[in-house]
């Protein structure tokens, strides 16, 4: 079993009277894809917002232990520090690229902190010193490799907003990866993709896990993605964990079936839902 990367303990998030996340505990491991599923409004995105510091959790602890040592108490950190120091990267349910900037620029912005240090907070950059030029060339090279990986090398100089939807999704993932994360959180990356693009996405995510050896958190509605590539699946409903385990275990869990159906346990599954859950 892989070492734990993110440990969530008794996480609760309240918005006024609404409990979006209710006493949630789970563990995401290094070099594994942890799928997070649940009906609409189950609190999946809210969970991501807590992990990445966009929301401050009402209660609970989020502890990140990267493979290179150290522990980061994420619940007490500001959003940009979580990305910068603890190296948690994310994508958004509604794509958030920089649409007016080019594809390449999007990837360079993701390498901001390293380039900023190399430019000696702009002094070395302003005078065009060699150390900065070298760092920039390396950043461009890294971007080029990512663009080749997601098949967008030709579009490098186009505004990101002009790309087709599927390409924007892939670019957002590449941009998150350019920050050199130890944990990558993907919020419904397959939403709006056609079946072919969805398959390509599976390959990309498996490839990222394989080559970068990082942990992935994956929110997904598309069961064909989650069930196929997740090593571990956690099911949320009304902010609470109702099941966890391998895709196979979760698929047959009566709680999951009930949450997705809102029906009684002993009623038979309608065919369409069984298919949605990946049942053969």
């Amino acid at each position: 079993m892989n070492a734990p990367l993110l440990q969530v303990e008794n996480l609760t998030m309240r918005f006024g009277g609404l409990i979006a996340i209710n006493d949630l505990s789970l563990t995401a491991r290094q070099n594994e894809i942890t799928g997070i599923i649940g009906p609409n409004g189950a609190g999946k995105t809210t969970f991501f917002n807590c992990v990445t510091g966009f929301y401050k959790p009402t209660e609970g602890r989020l502890t990140l232990t990267p493979p290179d040592g150290g522990t980061w108490p994420l619940q007490a950190m500001q959003g940009f520090r979580i990305a910068k120091k603890a190296r948690v990267a994310r994508t958004f349910q509604n794509i958030r690229l920089f649409p007016g900037m080019t594809v390449l620029e999007n990837l360079l912005v993701a390498q901001h902190n390293r380039l900023m240090a190399a430019s000696a907070f702009s002094i070395a950059g302003l005078f065009g010193l060699k150390s900065y030029r070298k760092a920039e060339a390396e950043a461009v090279e890294k971007s080029r490799q990512w663009l080749a990986r997601i098949g967008l090398e030709k579009s490098a100089d186009l505004p990101a907003g002009s790309l087709p939807y599927g390409a924007q999704r892939r670019l957002e993932i590449a941009r998150a990866m350019c920050t050199d994360p130890v944990l990558l959180c993907l919020d419904e990356p397959a939403a709006g993709l056609n079946p072919k693009e969805s398959l390509e996405l599976n390959d990309l995510l498996l490839d990222i896990r394989q080559t970068s050896k990082i942990g992935l958190l994956l929110i997904e509605h598309d069961m064909s993605v989650v069930m196929k590539i997740s090593d571990h699946v956690v099911v949320l409903d009304y902010g609470a964990r109702i099941a966890a385990g391998t895709p196979e275990q979760v698929r047959h869990d009566p709680n999951v079936i009930r949450a997705y159906l809102g029906a009684d346990e002993d009623e038979p599954l309608p065919a369409v839902v069984a298919k949605d859950l990946g049942e053969q």
Binding site: F54, V109, S122, G125, D157
Partner: protein, 416 residues
């Protein structure tokens, strides 16, 4: 027929408006204030508006066709941007450099060119904050004032222009940081309002803290810049003056030429720094912050410090410009830094096309240069000013030279 009806309606509205505005006039006569009537102006105004509106209505279909032909409003996807702006920029800089040597470079023209250059520099400085970082600042003149007063006050303690130039910039940047730190978490309109308020506060302080700033009387006899330590005066006890050193006859034009070159140098430095910084990580981060702050945070960019750096840099340039303004005028008072100054500088940036360096130059010539030349037109100047702004906004809603050039290219071969 609809066109006719619409024009009649417009004419009526014009008549209604014209009645109080043009029809009656308070005249200052020997018997004191007297109400004069100019009712004949009312139908005239109505007729002009009627005719104009009718013409516009009749021309509407033709205008629509012409608009279709013109490039669409949304920014073109710039796949192959030419390097034309660069050449234009170099040509403009070269022309500015040799201007004093040409036959046109007389005292009058140089004086006006110096004034325009001050606004070009201010425009470029504000462009860093508004155009690059997307922070709408309405009180930019306050930082200009801080720079000017920093020099004026230090000069009374015996410091020279060249010593004070960096200090003025630093003091203005410090004020920028002080104001920026608490307010940068505000967005858009709110930031604009707070900076507008700050601008007024500075002006009111300058007016009222008479023991320090001279109050409404301002500060006078601010020293002129020297040329590498040589004063530009007819004679100066204890110093070799400029004309003595070069053994040429003294002429007051020499000082004007020096001032012109100083501001040209300052403006060019501002330009080069903004062109370069756009391509640095911090410049790209400004761009990115303007487009999506949340995405920036998810990438580990500190929004506060990044915005503050834009604020500090932009206000530092206002400080340099202020220092120059003080030395050029030899006298400053709070009047020179009213809200209208901030508005003009912002208008230069917006009309020039946010983020466009050449656009700022064109807009500065249009908004500052032309009104200076047309001073004879007296009060109609401001009408022309407003008219020019309306025309630009109609013709080029995104500014004279809008459009973004990428800061870096991967496929270099495709460019050019």
């Amino acid at each position: 027929m609809a066109a006719f009806k619409d024009a009649i309606l417009a004419g009526l509205v014009a008549a209604l408006l014209a009645l109080p505005m043009l029809g009656f006039h308070l005249g200052d006569s020997a018997q004191g204030l007297q109400l004069e009537t100019h009712l004949e102006l009312v139908p005239l105004a109505a007729a002009i508006v009627f005719a104009g509106r009718l013409a516009l209505n009749l021309a509407a279909p033709w205008l629509a066709k012409w608009k279709d032909r013109a490039p669409a409003g949304k920014p073109k996807l710039e796949t192959g941007v030419s390097r034309r702006p660069l050449y234009i920029g170099i040509a403009m800089a070269a022309a500015a450099l040799i201007l004093p040597l040409t036959p046109w470079g007389d005292r009058n023209i140089l004086d006006k060119a110096t004034l325009v250059l001050i606004y070009v520099m201010l425009g470029w400085g504000l462009n860093i904050v508004v155009g690059l970082a997307g922070l709408l600042v309405l009180g930019y003149a306050a930082f200009y004032a801080v720079g000017a007063y920093a020099f004026a006050i230090l000069s009374q303690m015996g410091f020279s222009f060249w010593q004070c130039l960096p200090i003025s910039g630093a003091v203005a940047a410090l004020f920028g940081l002080l104001v920026g730190f608490p307010v940068l978490r505000l967005r858009g309109d709110y930031l604009a309002i707070v900076t507008l308020g700050f601008g007024e506060i500075i002006r009111v302080i300058l007016l009222n803290w008479a023991s320090f700033t001279g109050g409404p009387n301002g500060i006078s006899s601010i020293p002129r810049p020297s040329f590498f330590g040589m004063p530009m005066t007819a004679s100066s006890p204890g110093h070799t003056t400029f004309h003595e050193f070069f053994d040429i006859p003294f002429s007051p034009v020499q000082r004007i030429v020096l001032l012109y070159y100083v501001i040209l140098l300052l403006a060019l430095v501002t330009n080069l720094v903004s062109l370069r910084i756009r391509r640095l990580p911090v410049g790209r981060a400004w761009d990115a912050l303007r487009e999506d702050e949340i995405a920036c945070r998810s990438l580990g960019i500190n929004p506060t410090s990044t915005k503050l750096s834009a604020f500090a840099l932009g206000t530092a340039f206002a400080g340099f410009a202020g220092c120059f303004f003080a030395t050029r005028q030899g006298f400053i008072s709070p009047e020179s830094f009213s809200f209208i100054e901030s508005a003009v500088i912002l208008a230069i940036v917006v009309l020039g096309g946010m983020g466009s360096q050449t656009g700022v130059v064109l807009a500065a010539i249009l908004l500052v240069g032309l009104p200076e030349w047309f001073r004879d037109l007296a009060q109609y100047r401001m009408i022309a000013f407003g008219g020019a702004m309306v025309l630009i906004m109609l013709w080029r809603p995104k500014g004279l030279l809008a459009g973004r050039t990428p800061t870096i290219r991967l496929n270099k071969g495709d460019a050019a």
